[in-house]
């Protein structure tokens, strides 16, 4: 495989207190591709996603063994600033969570906390980010209106714009369409394909069709007997869905498992 690897997960185990949530995961995420993480509930999909921007650290008592490299740099090394990690690795959450502020302020939030103050620069970033998240045409006349006044799908695109505004290299998406209706879901999927040009996208989904439709690569997680999530298979999406090498993958995607 001559793909450039953007995110390299090396021997990662994740504990919540004493509970082992992920066991020794190795995963290479190719640059400018969409990688889907699928698996049954409780297999640690979201946990694995959150190790890539250190959001697992928000949960008290979590502890990580192993290494995660983003563009070749270990993000858990001693001298690494978590702020810098999260600027490089953006995230979109399951439930649309725009701040109770205007659309503009939502998108400008990241650039502002990273020190951009000039209105011109912020205006540019807001417009560019909203264009990239395919919301500009709908939102350009109401930038000063509350983001909470938008529909769920539009809110999620505000969140995507907000994540893009700090110019990340990697975009993590944690079931970004699970709270949305089918039309909004398709829009988000179209958007993901667009975003792939400029970003490396990792998406967690419980929706197998979505993974099959949108992703280039698929990682399958499965809980072991002690409920720790393990990576059982990682391959091109087409291969996973037509000719999986692990029996459990086949059972899972055909609905016999999970």
């Amino acid at each position: 495989m001559d793909q450039r690897i953007e995110v390299r997960i090396v021997g990662v185990s994740l504990y919540y207190g004493k509970f082992l949530a992920l066991r020794h995961i190795d995963l290479d995420v190719p640059a400018n591709q969409i990688t889907a993480i699928i698996g049954p509930s409780g297999s640690g999909k979201s946990s694995l996603l959150r190790t890539i921007n250190r959001m697992n650290e928000v949960i008290p008592g979590s502890r990580l063994e192993g290494q995660v490299l983003v563009s070749g740099q270990s993000i858990y090394a001693q001298n690494v600033d978590v702020v810098e990690v999260r600027r490089k690795v953006g995230m979109v959450f399951q439930r649309p969570n725009p701040f109770p502020q205007s659309i503009y302020d939502n998108v400008a939030y990241g650039p502002r906390i990273h020190g951009i103050k000039e209105k011109r620069a912020l205006d540019d970033i807001v417009e560019r980010s909203l264009r990239r998240s395919a919301l500009w045409d709908e939102a350009k006349d109401k930038l000063r209106k509350s983001a909470l006044a938008l529909s769920g799908g539009q809110q999620q695109r505000v969140c995507i714009a907000r994540a893009l505004a700090v110019d990340p290299q990697v975009l993590l998406m944690d079931e970004p369409a699970s709270a949305l209706d089918p039309i909004a879901t398709l829009k988000i999927e179209d958007l993901m394909r667009e975003l792939r040009q400029a970003y490396t996208v990792v998406v967690v989904t419980h929706n197998m069709q979505q993974a099959a439709r949108v992703s280039d690569w698929t990682a399958v997680l499965m809980p072991a007997l002690d409920r720790a999530g393990e990576l059982i298979e990682f391959d091109k999406t087409a291969k996973i869905f037509t000719n999986p090498s692990d029996k459990r993958t086949e059972d899972y995607i055909t609905g016999r498992l999970g």
Binding site: N53, M55, V58, V82, V83, E84, V85, R86, R87, G90, M91, F93, R95, N97, P98, F99, P100, Q101, Y109, G110, R112, I113, H114, S146, L148, A149, C159, R162, A163, V166
Partner: protein, 289 residues
């Protein structure tokens, strides 16, 4: 059957709500009935704008009392607001669970201390400190009253602001962290603004408590009915005036009516503050609809 139960419950709730409104209305009517006859003795303009309060000579200018109340209250808010907000943020966002579990009930307990006891403390301790620190002839000043009132308003402000901040969904905090914000940036730019309406309600309740408080201010502010020029001189509040002088008046006299008129002014001021708070809250909510 269930329907009947519903009806009865509905009726009871309606009665209770109606009774609350009725009581407020009755209080207002009573105040007006006892206070308005003052116009027979003293006209409203000099009453509201007069700088001299000599009830025994029949001079009833309440400006010094109004300004005394406002000064003491403003001072209390200036002290209690930053302090209360800081403690609430600490409790809601920073303190480990066990500190929270000890601190919050303790702070709420402070609200239960009888105000006359706080008056003691203010009179004996705070007044002395104020006197010595500022080199004043007396420590019974508006500032002393403000400090004590701030102390009394703090539990309310802290408790409600803490609830408001804690009610902000974690979704917002996580979104902010995921953008690389620090905890402090998140508190300042996301959590506190999202809790703004609750925090404002906390402040308004604190002000309401401060402006209506009687016993403590009566004991520690020196009760000189002069227009204050600094916060370091004795003042007399509307509430202390009513409490101090009511016992000396003959029912139906000009002085008696004047004290009720002071009560009307106090009532109107509190109502204005509450309405103002409601308006601000309403506008804030509307902004995000």
């Amino acid at each position: 059957m269930a329907r009947l139960g519903d009806r009865i419950a509905e009726g009871l709730v309606f009665l209770a709500g109606g009774a609350a409104v009725l009581f407020v209305a009755l209080i207002l009517i009573f105040l007006l009935r006892e206070g308005l006859p003052l116009v027979r003795y003293y006209s409203p303009i000099p009453f509201l704008t007069g700088a001299e309060w000599y009830p025994l000579s029949g001079v009833f200018g309440i400006l010094p009392l109004v300004l005394g109340s406002l000064l003491v209250t403003a001072g209390a808010v200036a002290i209690a607001l930053p302090l209360g907000l800081a403690v609430a943020i600490y409790l809601a966002e920073v303190a480990p669970a066990w500190i929270k579990d000890v601190l919050k009930p303790t702070i709420e307990l402070l609200a239960g201390i009888p105000s006359v006891l706080l008056g003691f403390v203010g009179y004996a301790v705070v007044a002395t400190v104020v006197k010595n620190v500022f080199g004043l002839p007396t420590g019974l000043t508006a500032l002393t009253g403000s400090i004590m009132l701030a102390y009394m308003a703090l539990p309310t402000i802290i408790s409600i602001a803490d609830d408001a901040i804690r009610a902000v969904p974690d979704d917002f905090r996580h979104a902010s962290y995921a953008l690389g914000a620090t905890r402090w940036q998140t508190i300042r730019a996301v959590t506190v603004p999202a809790a703004a309406s609750g925090i404002l309600a906390a402040i308004m309740l604190g002000i309401g408590r401060a402006i209506g408080e009687t016993m403590t201010v009566w004991m520690v502010t020196g009760n000189a009915a002069v227009i204050p020029t600094t916060i370091l001189q004795p003042v007399r509040t509307m509430t202390a005036t009513i409490a101090a002088e009511m016992g000396e008046t003959a029912r139906g006299s000009d002085h008696y009516a004047a004290l009720f008129a002071v009560g009307i002014v106090l009532f109107v001021m509190t109502a204005l503050i509450n309405t103002g708070a409601d308006l601000v809250l309403h506008r804030m909510k509307k902004k995000y609809e």
